[in-house]
């Protein structure tokens, strides 16, 4: 039981490049989330999904896209990377009705130069 797995752990991008952060969970959770964490700013929700085929915007969705074709996977796509997207990205999941108990991955540190 691996929990929530994120890849890659580290990545450096040039301005204007695109990439996909991968997230997979093996707990059969319906709900999945992407947060970004910046120093002193807490965790801000980018996108979330309540099940396969359903996604919704969070607080800071601009510059990102997501898809949810399976229960297990929830990739985050960065289009035209900008320095403001330099951050640590966390994927999380929980079962329906878990009232907030999230299981987080170990994070993906992205630097845009």
């Amino acid at each position: 039981n691996a929990g929530v797995t994120q890849t890659p752990k580290f990545r450096i991008l040039k301005i204007g490049q695109s990439m996909t952060l991968q997230c997979a969970q093996d707990m059969n959770h319906n709900y999945m989330y992407w947060y970004r964490q910046d120093p002193g700013m807490g965790l801000k929700l980018i996108y979330y999904s309540v099940g396969a085929g359903i996604t919704d915007k969070g607080e800071v969705p601009n510059g990102y896209n997501v898809s949810r074709s399976t229960t297990e996977d929830f990739p985050l796509r960065l289009e035209l990377a900008a320095p403001s997207q330099t951050s640590v990205y966390f994927c999380a999941s929980n079962r329906q009705g878990a009232d907030g108990e999230l299981f987080f991955g170990e994070g993906s540190r992205l630097t845009v130069l």
């Binding site: 002193g40 700013m41 907030g100 170990e106």
Partner: protein, 111 residues
């Protein structure tokens, strides 16, 4: 728009001390208030949580105090240890809406 305000931003205590981290919220629809603990290089992990029908909850050395009328809740760590050094986040949610997090408190416990 910050829905959960957390303070202080950082905190240094000596081993055995009782650090207190405070959070305040505005949305009266919130009905679940968890605290998450994050060690460097790791994702946050659930530490303890409370619902507004109780004023206090203890789990080991960790205690949440909840004041519904003031819309505030706090985390107390009894007999703090160097291993408690981490970043702590309060959060809130109503039903199945995504968690809203505070900005975090970096705690250092020095021997």
């Amino acid at each position: 728009q910050q829905q959960v305000k957390q303070s202080p931003q950082s905190l240094i205590v000596q081993k055995g001390g009782i650090p207190i981290i405070n959070c305040a919220y505005e949305n009266t629809a919130f009905d679940y208030f968890p605290w998450y603990q994050q060690f460097p290089g790791k994702g946050p992990a659930l530490l303890i949580a409370i619902r507004p029908d109780v004023s206090e909850k203890k789990e080991g050395r960790f205690t949440i105090s909840f004041n519904k009328s003031a819309k505030q809740f706090s985390l107390h760590i009894m007999d703090s240890q160097p291993g408690d050094s981490a970043t702590y986040f309060c959060a809130a949610t109503s039903g199945n809406t995504p968690l809203v997090f505070g900005k975090g408190t970096r705690l250092s416990v020095i021997a």
